[in-house]
């Protein structure tokens, strides 16, 4: 017998200016489901649930929640009614405590005559944190003290209450540490067992197949098909799902197929005896035509190495050298041919409230300049090439980045540095939030860059892509290198995990 329908959308349509994100979509969610939503970037999978959770209104269509017409005016209203959404990017409030973040919008519960009882708020926040098994985060601490991954956990605590009936997890796991993911998985299964429902938006096919009870595939704003658990367990399911997502065979080639680790002897970037905080005397030589992969748990120090190599951190000791010159600032790094794709895409890599074109050409402006004049035509040409190369779904370079889907935003941040023609590219989680079709294209591009003699430092929390792409793999744990291994066909994730944990 089919379970009770908890949420239903009928003929839902959403337009962003001239872009149609959803075309007449019907979507039903039943109690006890962990529904996976997959699709390429810009397919509309996040849009459906952002409308359901009050983040934005639909252009057309009807929604029903618990059998009643549903039209939330805000996310707070939706959350109070039981629909919560954990967003893809960091969404905590800086400059206040963890407790204030957890109870933002609900201060009245702790208020007497307008004065908030902070002690009570802190105690209840800590209780909530402990109940989620994340007692290492202290409710009274300023939120800024915590890492991106920990802040994401705070968001989960903020979103999920006993009253939550539908939890939407939008590309959140890529922003979580391994422990954080386990906490989230435990939570969603508990909710499903209690007869609630979870919508899981992810590009990680393994994760989707492992965690979800049902799957919906979207493409270009339309639902292409549904898969039950049995269909998901079928032998060719992954291939079929990918076909449904992309609308064409994407082939078997995904990562590099060669095991040729040869590269130039010329050092493109060197970190000499680098010391910063817990990172002590770190050394690295990246050669022309080499891809070095750095893996580990999120807080292991690998992201810091990327920032150091790009001149973003003031070192306590050691040097970063490129072409015999010391790199101390991003400007020096860029001038010497280094590009950097930050993990914190929305806050560090992109100007969200700006056109795609302006974002892509920003690092290339000095190169476009002729006697102070920057030709709008040259800017457009450069931007259009990257938009075309990455198949960015947009109606032109003038479209604002904040109207793009997560993956398309990531393509813009990638395009900045390919447009600049950087010789050394530091990629921190380069394919985060990017769909398989684009991932495949990006891997092909990285392989092509290697062939062109470019040096790549690829920092990633996805071991599979490091194994698939890197010539040399460095595993870090607690700010130290615990293992180094050359590319080889026998390398498995299980061989590396012991050095990470």
């Amino acid at each position: 017998m089919e379970k009770e329908i908890l949420f239903e959308a009928k003929h839902m349509r959403k337009e962003f200016g001239p872009t149609i994100a959803l075309k007449d979509v019907d979507f039903t969610l039943r109690r006890g489901e962990i529904r996976g939503l997959v699709g390429e970037n810009g397919s509309g999978k996040s849009t459906i649930m952002s409308i359901a959770s009050g983040m934005q209104p639909a252009t057309k269509g009807e929604m029903f929640y618990k059998g009643q017409p549903w039209n939330p005016g805000s996310m707070v209203e939706a959350q109070d009614a039981g629909i919560s959404m954990i967003l893809q990017e960091a969404n905590t409030i800086p400059g206040v405590t963890v407790a204030q973040n957890i109870f933002s919008g609900h201060e009245a519960e702790f208020s007497t005559l307008g004065i908030i009882n902070m002690k009570k708020m802190k105690a209840q926040a800590q209780q909530r944190l402990n109940s989620f098994g994340i007692s290492h985060i202290k409710a009274g601490d300023p939120i800024d003290r915590y890492t991106f991954e920990d802040r994401k956990l705070v968001e989960i605590v903020r979103c999920v209450t006993d009253e939550t009936e539908i939890l939407v997890v939008d590309e959140t796991t890529t922003a979580l540490s391994l422990e954080g993911r386990e906490i989230l998985y435990k939570l969603i299964h508990k909710m499903a067992d209690e007869g609630k429902a979870v919508v899981f938006v992810s590009h990680d096919m393994d994760e989707i197949l492992e965690q979800c009870t049902d799957l919906t595939v979207l493409r270009d704003g339309e639902i292409i098909g549904h898969l039950t658990r049995e269909e998901m367990d079928a032998p060719d399911s992954v291939k079929n799902i990918r076909y449904m997502m992309v609308g064409r065979e994407i082939g078997d080639k995904y990562y590099r197929e060669d095991y040729d680790t040869s590269h130039s002897d010329e050092v493109a970037l060197e970190l000499q005896d680098v010391t910063l905080g817990k990172i002590q005397h770190f050394n690295l030589k990246l050669h022309k035509g080499e891809i070095i992969g750095m893996g580990g748990l999120s807080g292991c120090g690998m992201h810091d190495i990327g920032r150091i190599a790009y001149g973003l951190e003031k070192l306590e000791g050691g040097r970063v050298i490129r072409n015999g010159q010391e790199i101390k600032t991003p400007l020096q790094a860029i001038n010497s041919g280094i590009g950097y794709i930050s993990k914190n895409r929305d806050s560090e890599a992109l100007i969200l409230n700006g056109p795609i074109q302006d974002n892509i050409v920003l690092p290339s402006i000095p190169a476009l300049e002729k006697h102070t004049f920057i030709s709008p035509r040259a800017e457009k040409k450069l931007s259009d090439i990257e938009i075309g190369n990455y198949r960015i779904k947009c109606h032109g370079g003038k479209q604002y980045v904040n109207t793009l889907s997560g993956g398309n935003k990531q393509k813009v941040s990638f395009g900045k540095w390919t447009a600049k023609g950087s010789e050394v590219i530091i990629m921190d989680c380069p394919t985060r939030g990017v769909d398989i079709g684009v991932k495949q294209a990006m891997y092909a591009l990285i392989e092509e860059m290697k062939k062109q003699g470019k040096a790549i430092l690829m920092i990633s929390e996805e071991l599979s892509e490091l194994i698939g792409m890197a010539d040399r793999l460095i595993i870090m744990k607690d700010f130290e290198v615990t293992h180094q291994v050359e590319r080889n066909p026998d390398l498995r994730q299980t061989d590396l995990i012991e050095y990470m944990i």
Binding site: P18, R158, I351, L362, P376, A444
Partner: protein
């Protein structure tokens, strides 16, 4: 890798209005004022288009517009400069004092430019170097320059000083010259704002300083340079301010920073700065502001009431153009 994915479809009028709402409101406001005053002044037996009224209008708009054009650079950074009025007061005073002392207006202009550049460098760099809001350093300058003005005029033993008749200022009273200088300033600043890295970086910094910095932009340098453009514009505005009357006083420039701010907002300038900053806001806003200043008294509105009407219009425009729709954070 294949070709660009286009999803071109026609915009509905509602979508177009949503995208261009700010421009429509600001240009609409200006057009409304123009039509309204053309009709109402006609009823009162006067015309806002008469030579004398047009001359008054241009005389009123010129100083605000010259300042506002330069201030667009600062506002695009997400900054605000409240020392503008006191700076114009000081430069007007110095133009008279140095002009009279040396007999050369050119030397006086150069002195003003040097001081304006120094103030600009400090205003632009202080925020970044001292990790504070840039407006704070401009508040400091506002107070310091107010003190300097008081000292100058108390030492002179007067509250007004006049330019030596030997130095001709007739040109600065000619409406055609005012329009010409404003057009030149607009063209030059427009070039730097739209077609050079100075403007592009300023807007990028206003939109996201961190991402701009990580794209290799020297934040301090490109925060200071806009103040250089403002410095030149303020000295130019001071020339017309002083040139119109041939005099300066201890109250010259008082409240000008507010005139600039109101004009820019009336013109549709986003107070947060960033990529939506437009130079045209300065002209549209200044014209609207001056039309109100000149038109309201003609139709018989008492002077004290004009402030209330201006404030009401300002409030409406702010509500239409500056309201943020980011929505609440999920708990």
């Amino acid at each position: 890798m294949t070709a660009m994915v286009h999803e071109k479809e026609k915009q509905t009028p509602a979508q177009w209005l949503k995208k261009h709402g700010s421009s429509v409101a600001s240009i609409g406001g200006l057009l409304f004022c123009l039509i309204f005053f053309t009709i109402t002044t006609g009823i009162k037996g006067e015309s806002i288009w008469s030579a004398s009224k047009l001359s008054t209008l241009i005389g009123d708009v010129i100083v605000t517009a010259l300042m506002a054009v330069g201030a667009v650079f600062i506002y695009s950074l997400g900054n605000m400069d409240v020392s503008i009025g006191k700076q114009v007061g000081l430069y007007s005073t110095l133009l008279v004092l140095v002009g009279n002392a040396t007999g050369s207006l050119l030397i006086a202009i150069l002195v003003c430019l040097v001081i304006a550049v120094i103030i600009g460098v400090i205003n632009g760099a202080a925020g970044e170097l001292l990790h504070m809001y840039s407006v704070i350093s401009s508040v400091v300058f506002m107070m310091v320059l107010s003190g300097v003005s008081t000292i100058i005029y108390s030492n002179l033993g007067t509250r007004n000083i006049s330019m030596n008749p030997g130095i001709s200022l007739t040109l600065f009273r000619q409406p055609w010259f005012m329009v010409l200088v404003l057009a030149i300033e607009y063209a030059v600043i427009g070039y730097f704002f739209y077609f050079t890295k100075f403007g592009k970086y300023a807007r990028a910094i206003g939109a996201n300083q961190l991402a701009t910095s990580q794209s290799g932009v020297n934040i301090i340098l490109y925060r200071v340079i806009p103040y250089m453009f403002l410095a030149v514009c303020l000295v130019t505005a001071s020339l017309f301010q002083m040139g119109y009357t041939g005099a300066a006083s201890d109250s010259t420039g008082t409240g000008f920073e507010m005139n600039v701010m109101v004009s820019l907002i009336l013109g549709g300038m986003p107070l947060k700065g960033g990529m939506k900053s437009r130079l045209s806001c300065a002209i549209i806003g200044s014209l609207t502001f001056s039309l109100l200043a000149v038109g309201l008294p003609i139709i018989g509105v008492p002077t004290n009431m004009t402030f209330i009407i201006k404030a009401a219009i300002f409030l409406v425009v702010v509500l239409i153009t500056c309201r943020q729709k980011t929505g609440p954070l999920p708990r």
